[in-house]
Amino acid sequence: MEEDAFLDVERYELSERLPYRFAVDRRGFLQLVGVVVLVTVARSDAQESGRRSADESGPSDLAAWLHIAEDGTVTVYTGKVEVGQNARTSLTQAVADELHAPVEAIRLVMGDTDLTPYDMGTFGSRTTPVMAPRIRRAAAAARELLKEEAAKEWGVPVPELEVADGHVSHAPSRRRIAFGSLTRGRKLVRALGEDSPTSPAAQWTVAGRSLPKVDGRDFVTGRHRYTSDLAPAGMLHGRVLRPPAIGAVLESVDLSPAEAMAGVVAVRDGDFVGVAAPRADVAGQALESLKPAWKIVPQPSGRDLYKDLRKAAAPSSGEGRRPPPFVVGSVSDGLAAADHRLESTYTVAYIAHIPLEPRAAVAEWAEGRLTVWTGTQRPFGVKDELAQAFRVSEDKVRVIVPDTGSAYGGKHTGEYAVEAARLAKAAGRPVKVVWSREEEFRWGYFRPAGVIDVRSGVDAAGKLVAWEMHNYNSGPSAIRTSYVAPNQHIEFHPAESPLRQGSYRGLAATANHFARESHMDELATLLKLDPLEVRRRNLEDKRFLAVLDAAAERFGWQKRSRTPGRGCGIAGGFEKGSYVAACAEVGVDGDGTVRLLRLVAAFECGAIVNPEHLRNQVEGALLMGLGGALFEAVEFDEGKILNPRLSLYRVPRFKDVPELDVVLLDRKDLASAGAGETPIVGVAPAVAGAIFDATGVRLRAMPLAPRGVAKPETTSAKG
């Protein structure tokens, strides 16, 4: 049930289709010597983690597999990818923990569609709660298998054996043998399901500690090769012709000036026009030599965005994507009985991911088979897109994901892989396409904008009696409230977005928390209660209360500063299995400029896998969140993005960083949840509360203060 809801969320936010329509062996990866452990998945979640079809080799429900070679090298194969969240390190810890192998002997092959089992994608904070336990099971099974082999070899009972540091040993007879030596040229295979036991967090020895990033040295020396750094022999540099505005239709283009340039290949195929050249600068010149004629198709502007999103949310517009409303009791009855009622509307602007490594792909066709190296969160999804685009069977396509220069939900689609592959097909040579920063802004997709209406009623004691919330377009993630209310109506209304939109770190949980938590603050004002107190009166969830209390205590909420021009706010939330609370202190200058002075957050995601990496993720999510909270917004007019460059679109920089304090609550009794997303959700409402505390102005639009508080566009009601 919960899984289904999760899939629906991602489906909605992944609804964008490919931009182009072109005019239309099985890999023996198990033929290895050594120990092979296959992890299969239970039928119940085969949809997420297994695969949908039996068109790939291996068991149809394979989730991950592990191999121990005769030299003792342990290789784990997982479809997850590394985009800076340090999954490579945390999964290595999981293997080391169960297998009792040295970290240095463990290697992860990630996101290679020929070698790794199908995986839906690296998003939704699923690696830690779903993939890590699977890999643990594989490693635990491998350990037991090795023990059984040693027991047979030495004629001793299994319980007398110990496993440590990549060796099995038998203390009574003082025998010790390395993992790899046990297999002696044979192949030992074991398959296991989801029910085999793994070690509880209290017994972890490698997980639970701050193992450094496993290949950190490659990054600080510049040695790591991202997709955009690859250059196979004979590679050409590709560029793609882009329309002057969204929706513009290509009427004509003359490729001959580009084709006349030495070594240049130019392609027009349906809507697609691109060039490739041996030199990057020549590819740029070839692109500029094209003189396309475009027909401009009228497009909406940002001016009326929030009005438009409401209009577009007519019942028919979101057909098939509209989840049913969540209804408990009767909101109208609850409101009628309430002592106080409140209605407010909140808006959230489109924002851009801006992964610092732009979308990039290198494609190569050889013997009818296509190989694409690309930075994506969905290697198997991109493989499907490529197979469809080129009308080849899936076994003719391999996608390999080098550890990627971040994504934040922005690298779910494969259009750049398709572009590189189309050019490579024409050129008969490998082609690399790296989007420019401007292409990123103009032709990627954004975090959805949205309008959120909240209506509530409370009794004299400050307890919610009615809660109604409608989210237009931004998404259904974390739309349900953790606060107790006997009467609720909560509904997501899909809309036709004027801009291309998709996943973003935390999805709509940020927007929904902004609206919900801001509204709780407004109720506190109405009731003349402390913002923390109004939350406490309406919460029963002990984990939520624990993070609120931890953040408040570290921040010194009860004895917070009352300096004029300064203010403090608090907000919290729950999503994807983890809890966050944030306290913010802002200073508002005479001219309305808002400065975030201090941010304290408490975070709890069950048993902590890697404290330092977790702290790093939480800090990063908080600081990224302050961009969307305070100043990030995509501006557009008639189908053109008006601020498609870093000089025009402000992102958090060193000077924006407040005094930052993160409290991690370690719950070894709870399963580990993912942590890359949820910490982002508390920032905006905490900052909005702090601005209100400082100025008396309640800001209901994200970004809150791109040009300061006093400006009318941030104080007027929108929607």
């Binding site: 800076g84 990033k213 040695r223 460059r645 000089s647 992102v651």
Partner: protein, 159 residues
């Protein structure tokens, strides 16, 4: 295609370079030094930062042809002493001052230049020097810590 003589990480290089081609493109595509990254193409993110005679420079907005053969170009690949990491590189590892790592080479090159210029910068001086760099993963506090710890002569402490 015209050729240029460049002095990169102590080695003389004769390379082909288009008249308008950026130093970043030449380093990455002609010489194969891919440590300096493209991030924005307008000198706004710092991912492409290299040293020209010790001065941090945005290679994406610097024409290769404008650089003389005697100008010492130093990229991230020239920062370590063989296999021995530069203290700034070690401090970045110790402070876990990276996530995806894409901005890291530019950050480290800038920090090396800062510490040569000002061996004991306070936090305000560090922030001022680094302000032109973007880490979208937002590891900023850790980068400041790594630079601070390098200046103190100690390894960055893991918390």
């Amino acid at each position: 295609v015209p050729t240029l003589d460049l002095l990169v990480n102590g080695a003389r290089r004769r390379v082909e370079a288009g008249a308008q081609e950026s130093l970043l493109s030449v380093l990455r595509n002609e010489i194969g030094l891919t440590g300096a990254k493209y991030g924005c193409g307008e000198g706004q993110c710092g991912a492409c930062t290299v040293l020209l005679d010790g001065r941090p420079t945005r290679a994406c907005v610097t024409q290769a042809s404008a650089i003389g053969p005697k100008t010492a170009v130093t990229t991230i690949e020239g920062i370590a002493d063989g296999e021995r990491l530069h203290p700034v590189q070690q401090a970045f590892l110790d402070a876990d001052a990276l996530q995806c790592g894409y901005c890291t080479p530019g950050m480290i090159v800038e920090a090396v230049a800062l510490l040569r210029r000002n061996p004991r910068p306070d936090d305000a001086a560090i922030v001022e020097a680094m302000q032109g760099h973007v880490c979208r993963c937002c590891t900023y506090p850790r980068i400041v810590r790594a630079i601070r710890e390098t200046a103190r002569g100690g390894a960055g402490k893991r918390t």
